[in-house]
């Protein structure tokens, strides 16, 4: 059995930042494994620990820099990694969901997994769409926003809870192979152990170009073009209390007393 997990290295923005051109200036970005993908990796690794002969493969589309992040997933127990990259992707403003899922689908077709886990959304772009589009390209079944999973790959069924709005969960039986988009909180992602980190260095990390996947750059063209990025004008008109912690806490305390919401 094989579980394919899509993992993305996402950018986090520092408190103070500048935009240069159509993106945030590189120097204000820090990179990390997407939070939702961390849960997806954990879900796969736990299944592989509880069942015999389950291989966990991760796939990412990202530049060389992302290998550090990918190794973290290997350190947490994934068996091997695939990284898709190409000179033609260098300097692309953004990848459309179509392009991303097209590349992931090419890898999935090669790998022929029994199930695919992806994250509900990527923290930086927040499209929330890649997993379901990937499923469609693979002609697999899918389920979005899974926060409980009872998986039986031998039976070919995944019992899932889909987390809807307002504290309601939908209980659904999904036939595998399928793509499940994993919601945060489904499990407790582990920290990589020192031993795991050491072992990760020995695990295979295979780099594939578009050509290797039988794709040409044309297949990634999109009618979408990013035209601007800016800091939204604050809609609010918050009163910001300034001064030492003693001063500002005092202002807030006075406010709460004046409002009559607290005594004392």
């Amino acid at each position: 059995m094989k579980i394919l997990v899509t993992v993305k290295e996402v950018a986090e923005v520092e408190d103070e930042f500048e935009i240069s051109g159509l993106d945030i200036d590189e120097s204000y970005l820090e990179y990390d494994l997407n939070e939702w993908d961390d849960y997806a990796v954990e879900e796969a690794v736990q299944y592989s620990e509880e069942n015999d002969d389950v291989e966990v493969v991760t796939v990412t589309i990202g530049p060389e820099r992302s290998e550090e992040t990918i190794r973290m997933a290997l350190a947490k127990g994934a068996d091997r990694a695939i990284r898709v990259w190409d000179d033609s992707l260098e300097g692309v403003d953004f990848l459309s969901t179509e392009a991303t899922s097209e590349m992931l689908a090419a890898v999935a077709e090669e790998e022929d997994p029994d199930i695919v886990f992806s994250g509900v959304q990527s923290d930086d772009d927040a499209n929330g769409a890649t997993g379901v589009m990937l499923a469609n390209k693979l002609d697999m079944e899918w389920a979005a926003v899974v926060n409980t999973l009872d998986l039986d790959l031998d039976e070919g069924v995944a019992g899932v809870h889909r987390e809807l709005e307002g504290g309601i969960e939908e209980l659904t039986d999904v036939r595998t192979p399928a793509v499940l988009t994993i919601q945060s909180g489904i499990n407790e992602p582990r920290y990589a152990s020192l031993r795991g980190i050491r072992q990760a260095q020995q695990k295979p990390l295979d780099v594939q170009s578009l050509d290797d996947l039988g794709l040409d750059t044309g297949s990634l063209d999109s009618p979408l073009e990013r035209t601007s990025m800016y800091e939204p004008e604050s809609e609010g008109d918050a009163t910001i209390w300034e001064g030492s912690p003693e001063d500002t806490a005092g202002e807030l305390a006075d406010f709460l007393r004046d409002k009559g919401v607290v005594e004392g």
């Binding site: 179509e98 504290g167 035209t227 607290v262």
Partner: protein
């Protein structure tokens, strides 16, 4: 003509608010691109839904009577057929959990470029879509250089359509391949119950990832005690198992409307804001002046919670714990 097809959303017998917001967004877009607004209503009591959705600005309603509840395999098959029936070019769906459970598949089937979670739409030869990125710290605009595309719209961004409409309602017979129904909804479950109901509280002290460690929670517990307030939180605190589910504010937690909501170390992600924007007065304590919570806050302290909260506890006669 460039026509728009918007897909209504319902759950357990009720249309969801976002359906009426879609009418507003879809109507604006249809007018800008010079076309009609069609609505698609799939599953459930479609006639009653169509009646309710027949509001000012809707040109045509197409119903598909198949099953009670949302099933994405039915939606994914029915929508392309409705799209064709309506002669539509643009697909508009809610950016809800269920909207995102079919829109990417349908867009892929119809070969439509997809933009999700739009907060503004400016229709034209080239339609401009605005969305947020990097946790709401920036906005980006995208030009869609195609007459045909799919877009999901963020709930609660557009007002709900009102007024009676005179759209023609047509029942559509769609072909559903039963073999392609590969999932089955077996039920629903309500989560987040228990003895504490944060939606009843007048004052909420709400804590987010800024608290860093579970051990540090005593700090805000102490503050809530000193204020006679109730403790609530953002999602990561509950995901980590540090507080029970019934304390979570937001899209997948509780909607709260206290007199005062004190957001401490919470960035103000859209899914969090969905649960607390109705608070009377919002106070934010956050080190990051560009955190989206400040767009909403009435008062703010841009400082370290580990410096501010102990001071506050002492202001109210409590004793700040040693961390």
């Amino acid at each position: 003509m460039t026509d728009v097809l918007a897909i209504a959303e319902h759950r357990r017998g009720e249309l969801r608010d976002v359906s009426f917001e879609l009418i507003t967004a879809g109507r604006e877009l249809a007018s800008e691109v010079g076309g009609d607004l069609h609505l698609g209503v799939i599953s459930g009591d479609v006639d009653a839904f169509a009646d309710d959705l027949n509001r000012d600005g809707v040109d045509a309603i197409h119903t598909v009577d198949d099953g009670e509840e949302f099933n994405h395999d039915v939606y994914a098959q029915a929508i392309p057929q409705l799209f064709e029936e309506a002669g539509a070019d643009i697909l508009v769906t809610p950016n809800s959990v269920n909207g995102l459970d079919y829109a990417p598949a349908v867009a892929d089937d119809l070969d439509l470029p997809l933009v999700t979670d739009s907060v503004a739409l400016d229709g034209g030869d080239v339609t401009e879509v605005t969305r947020e990125q990097y946790g709401g710290k920036v906005e980006t605009t995208y030009d869609v250089d195609s007459e045909s595309f799919a877009v999901t719209v963020r709930p609660a961004e557009w007002p709900q359509a009102e007024g009676d409409g005179d759209a023609e309602v047509t029942a559509v017979d769609v072909d559903i391949d039963e073999d392609a129904i590969r999932s089955e909804v077996t039920g629903f479950e309500e989560v987040g119950g228990g003895d504490v109901d944060i939606s009843e509280a007048d004052v909420l002290v709400s804590i987010g990832r800024g608290i860093e460690e579970e051990e540090n929670l005593v700090l805000v517990e102490e503050l809530a005690d000193a204020l006679g307030a109730t403790l609530s939180s953002s999602r990561p605190i509950v995901d980590n198992g540090w507080l029970p589910k019934n304390r979570q504010v937001g899209q997948s937690g509780k909607v709260v409307t206290p007199d005062v909501y004190i957001a401490i170390g919470i960035s103000g992600a859209v899914q969090h804001v969905a649960g607390m924007k109705g608070a009377d007065t919002i106070v934010a304590i956050n080190t990051d002046p560009s955190a989206p919570i400040y767009d909403l806050a009435d008062y703010g302290i841009v400082d370290d919670l580990f410096d501010i909260v102990p001071e506050l506890i002492e202001e109210f006669g409590g004793e700040a714990p040693n961390l």
